[in-house]
Amino acid sequence: MRKHSVKSAAIVGASLLVLAACGSNKTEGGGTTGGSCDTSKGTLTVGVVAPLSGNLSALGVGIKQSAELAVDEANKKCTVPGFKLTVSAQDDEANPAKGAQAATKLSTDPNVVGVVGTLNSSVAQTVQPILRDKKIPQVSPANTNPSLTRGNDFLTAPKRQFDNYFRVCTTDDLQGPYAANYLVEKAGKKKIAIITDGKTYGEGLAAELSKQVSKKGGTIVGSEKVGEKDTDFSGVISKIKALAPEAVYYGGEYPVAGPLSKQMASAGLNVPLMGGDGIFDGKYIELGGKEGDLATSVGAPTESLATAKAFVDAYKAKFGKEDYAAYGAFSYDAANAIIGGLAKTLEGGSAWDESKRDAMLTNVGAYAGSGATGEVKFDQYGDSTNKVLTVYQVTSAKWKDVQTGTFTG
């Protein structure tokens, strides 16, 4: 009996310790505890807003887990002295309204120091103002729409939109034209048809592409729209087929693009489909993407970068699989920018409170580091200074990189 009560006292004591360690934060932990680090000042949270369920969850989960990896490593290395870091991942379901809810939830938590996300440019539009009001830095691994940082007149009169918003990937005003150059000059496709899904990302990307196609002497033979939830594209395909394009450019994401490519082939329209970073995922091929289809994506191929190797190895060791998807390395860098900014803000062992938010924004903006995607630095608009893009092609049922570079006009 006596022995028993000692045992239960020990269990109660141990669980109290665990509870205390969790502190005020009841969200999912970012992995193992800080080990030997001093975490006496409490727990700070790096928020993640990404589609963790729904059609784009392959990309969203890659973003979440890569951010967890960055936080985990920071905890092990005691990057932020006195604090333990955790990740609080919120699902936005690729839906702007859900994204706003997720951002509101994170912004009301005083321990949230920064947010990694979003995946979709359309979701970013609702998340940006919510986080700005609370001066929470947002670093996106994947938003490529140029107006998010530089406003609607991003080419002629760029103007910083949100002083809390940064991104580590390049933008569609480079990605679209880069794809156009490849299609017209390298692949020799002069007649291009455009299909878009009507969302911020796809529309912007396709608009930038078509300008450059015309500049390089190609023609846009037609431009059509499909619904995000459409499944039967025969109407659109027949219409486009009659225009005899040499390639089809799709502005949107892989859940539509994969089946679209497959249906194009079975309708006898055997031309390559090209898209942006939104279709660059293994799922695209699984859902019907065919041999010879093309995609541009931001950054150099993760596997080929020397700086990325450490990330890939660590990711594999932690999660067992290499499912970091298109934005894993970017998400890792985004989280590290937030952590780096935080470490600078709390230099000298000061405590975290609301008054630190201004310094935090400045420090994230001034962050410079060498990350999994190469040099990580932000320009005066919050855009990444890393403008590298890569063209991939489906070869033997896998994405294979065919050209890496920057857009030069």
């Binding site: 729904g54 499944t231 659109v236 087929k241």
Partner: protein, 304 residues
């Protein structure tokens, strides 16, 4: 010209799929005046049922389409029928004599329930799932028009089953009981018709058709997702209303009209494919303004 023919063919295939689902809406409405909004989800569940059947098959059977394909139909239909029967028994039957709004709201609830159940419990259902390649590949080429064999099969099944259903309802004893219940459930009861049996059978017929549609959808479009039931359900519901809800012939014709409007308007109307949905509903509104009971519907009877 060849483009028009191709678009007509596309429209007929889309119409055939919608018709299979619309029949379920219209039959249930004809008997118990319930718009069963969960019917679209029965179609979706059937599609996952067919996929699950394939996944559970032993590897050597997976390679022979002649065996796998019929088994997928059986599996899909079985799941659809099971869901429909349970839905009728536990969600709608207790509300048989409740105000009409109560079962309608219940139907919406069942719809959300089914969609979320598949999303949560079916492995990897959070994103699109590819459908197995056991369907006939390739195209039927008629001059300038290309029609996938799966599309041909879909149209044949749809029209064939609709005719069979119409014949059954017009000729058989059970069909007469169905028509009697639709006209006047109380009198039908006095004449010895068991309304519960008739109603369950109606749900089963609807589910079988939705089951065929669900598996064919996967075969024709190669992948499925949990939203497919909602979207196609809305089209099917619209088709049933356009044709006159309660009318078998109306549902089928309404479905083909919707399929054709979508593809032809996307090709020729201003705004192109961006506005193809708009034209469907413009036509629906015009029909309802001039013929509120739909193309083939009977004017609403006031019930005592």
């Amino acid at each position: 010209m060849s483009v028009l023919l191709q678009q007509l063919a596309n429209g007929v295939i889309q119409g055939a799929l919608i018709a299979l689902i619309a029949l379920g809406y219209t039959m249930v409405y004809g008997i118990i005046q319930l718009i069963n909004f969960a019917h679209g989800e029965v179609f979706m569940v059937a599609s996952y049922g067919g996929l699950a059947t394939f996944t559970l098959l032993p590897d050597d059977l997976k390679k022979s389409p002649a065996v796998a394909l019929p088994l997928m139909f059986v599996g899909g239909i079985a799941v659809a029928v099971l869901v429909a029967v349970i839905m009728e028994r536990f969600a709608y039957r207790p509300l048989r004599n409740a105000p009409r709004l109560a079962p309608l709201i219940t139907a919406l609830g069942v719809s959300v329930f089914l969609q979320e159940a598949v999303r949560v419990f079916y492995p990897n259902a959070k994103s699109n799932l590819p459908y197995p390649k056991v369907f006939p590949e390739g195209n039927l080429t008629l001059g300038p028009v290309n029609i996938p064999w799966t599309g041909v099969l879909l149209v044949v099944l749809s029209v064939g089953l609709a005719i069979a259903l119409q014949t059954y309802i017009n000729r058989s004893r059970m069909g007469r009981a169905m028509r009697a219940t639709a006209q006047d459930p109380d009198t039908a009861k006095l004449m010895g018709v068991n309304p519960d049996r008739v109603i369950v059978l109606t749900f089963i017929f609807g589910a079988v058709l939705a089951g065929v549609a669900g598996v064919m959808f996967g075969g024709y479009l190669n992948n499925i997702n949990i939203d497919m039931g909602f979207q196609n359900g809305i089209f099917a519901f619209t088709a049933a209303v356009l044709g006159g809800v309660g009318s078998i012939r109306g549902a089928v014709i309404g479905a083909f009209i919707i399929g054709l409007i979508k593809t032809v308007a996307g090709q020729y109307m201003p705004g192109g494919t961006q506005y193809d949905y708009v034209w469907i509903f413009v036509v629906l509104i015009l029909v309802l303004v001039f013929r509120p009971q739909g193309l083939f519907g009977e004017p609403e009877r006031v019930r005592a």
